[in-house]
């Protein structure tokens, strides 16, 4: 039998390099140098992408820079490696950060917090805590039974899927840093305010009875402790896992985006999703609820819509609704929440997203 061991020893599928195995100290410097070297290579290659895409399309293929086909191909050849490189770097970085923030640790931080402060913390921790939507229910139970206030728990549950590194990288890569920052800030605000509002409504008795009767201790699950080597390996595993899953959406999305970029006339979406159509924001939210997609699938579509004249607020509302309010998740949550609380959750978050949509259509 194994004796009590607090560390879930992470053993890599493939070690970084067999040489880094035994003497720790001298190799640390070497590993840092390798990391920095990799970063420099990454950066230099990244800077070459735009000139390369132009050279490839207009010189090697000999297409005219004014032609539809030339524009579409240059767009694709530039954007695909750009987004993939950004994604790899950020997923690796976030993968390492996440080894410090397990859901268990996040719960410990939140259990002692007052409501308003707790909502802010919960939304922020939602960005860095690893979360998969099939864990939503055990996580909900674990938070609520350990004394995390209901509204604070909701702030976390809203922020975790909606504001994540993949969404931010894709928005940055395809639409620029301003829109990525806007999304980050408004996504956090929706999570904070919606969670706070739900907390104010005092709906604790709309949690299923068996959950309310349960008490858990935040110290039940032992912390995992990791060495830096393990953290780096977990970062690499995250890259393999996430980039391996997401790349197909990115390529397909950019492909569609490239076709639209080259061929669909400007202003095509103005009448349907433009600022003039007041009903388009609520329509975007409603259409988004039954749609279930991750950020990787939705951002390239958003990109195409925006480019052809859809209003930014409408498009952001659509994206938030698709990611944050999903039918499958509400069905799972029904196991621990009574219908009225689910309806309140969807209603409050929906209203928050609606406000974001109108606000941006008004301001920008």
């Amino acid at each position: 039998m194994v004796e009590i061991n607090n560390c879930c020893t992470v053993s890599p599928d493939k070690p970084l390099a067999p040489k880094t195995e035994v003497p720790q100290r001298p190799n640390r410097l070497k590993n840092i140098m390798i990391g920095l070297g990799g970063l420099v290579v990454w950066f230099v290659a990244y800077k070459q992408l735009l000139p390369f895409s132009k050279y490839f399309t207009f010189e090697i293929l000999g297409l005219s820079s004014a032609s539809h086909l030339g524009q579409a191909i240059q767009f694709f050849v530039y954007d695909t490696p750009k987004v993939m490189m950004l994604l790899t770097l950020v997923v690796f970085g976030v993968g390492i950060i996440r080894t410090f923030f397990t859901p268990e640790r996040t719960r410990k931080i939140l259990a002692g917090k007052r409501e308003s402060v707790g909502n802010v913390f919960a939304a922020l921790l939602g960005i860095v805590t690893p979360f998969c939507s099939c864990s939503a229910v055990p996580l909900f139970i674990g938070f609520v039974t350990a004394g995390v206030p209901l509204g604070v728990t909701f702030s976390f549950l809203i922020s975790a899927p909606m504001v994540n590194e993949i969404a931010l990288v894709l928005l940055y890569g395809l639409l620029g840093w301003k829109i990525a920052a806007l999304y980050l800030v408004t996504g956090l605000l929706v999570a904070i305010v919606a969670g706070w509002t739900i907390g104010r409504l005092g709906m604790e008795n709309h949690i299923e009875d068996w959950v309310r009767e349960m008490r858990t201790n935040v110290d039940d699950v032992p912390d995992e402790c990791h060495s830096w080597r393990e953290r780096v390996q977990m970062g690499l595993a995250a890259v393999k896992d996430i980039v391996g899953k997401v790349w197909i959406y990115v390529v397909a999305g950019i492909g569609v985006g490239a076709a639209i970029h080259g061929y669909v006339p400007e202003g095509f979406m103005v009448s349907i999703m433009g600022k003039g159509a007041w009903w388009s924001v609520p329509a975007a939210v409603l259409v988004g609820i039954p749609m279930y997609s991750n950020a990787a699938g939705i951002v390239p579509v958003i990109h195409a819509l925006l480019e052809k004249g859809a209003a930014l607020g409408t498009v952001l509302a659509f994206m938030m609704s698709v990611i944050a309010l999903s039918l499958p998740e509400t069905v799972i949550l029904r196991k621990v929440l009574k219908p009225r609380l689910i309806a309140t959750f969807v209603g409050v978050v929906g209203c928050g997203i609606l406000l974001v949509g109108y606000l941006f259509n008004l301001l920008i």
Binding site: V2, S135, P138
Partner: protein
């Protein structure tokens, strides 16, 4: 030895179950492997994120798929 793999049924949870079963078969020890999909049962163990592996009532890992090496250590 009593092994419980907890997860509602997402691909990662299925992967965890498979790795556990393979490891048990490889180690050639007598162990029962049970897949737990009931949230109430998971909550009793204090499991917050899935997949999770519990061996003889002790949480071994949560929120990730264990590796074959992890299991080799736990099954010793």
């Amino acid at each position: 030895m009593e092994i419980k793999v907890m997860g509602p049924g997402c691909p990662k949870c299925a992967e965890a179950e498979k790795i556990v079963k393979d490891a048990v078969a490889k180690a050639g020890i007598a162990a029962t492997v049970e897949k737990i999909t009931d949230f109430q049962e998971m909550a009793k163990y204090g499991v917050l994120s899935t997949p999770a592996v519990v061996i003889d009532g002790e949480i071994k890992c949560v929120g990730r798929v264990p590796t074959a090496n992890d299991l080799a250590g736990w099954l010793k």
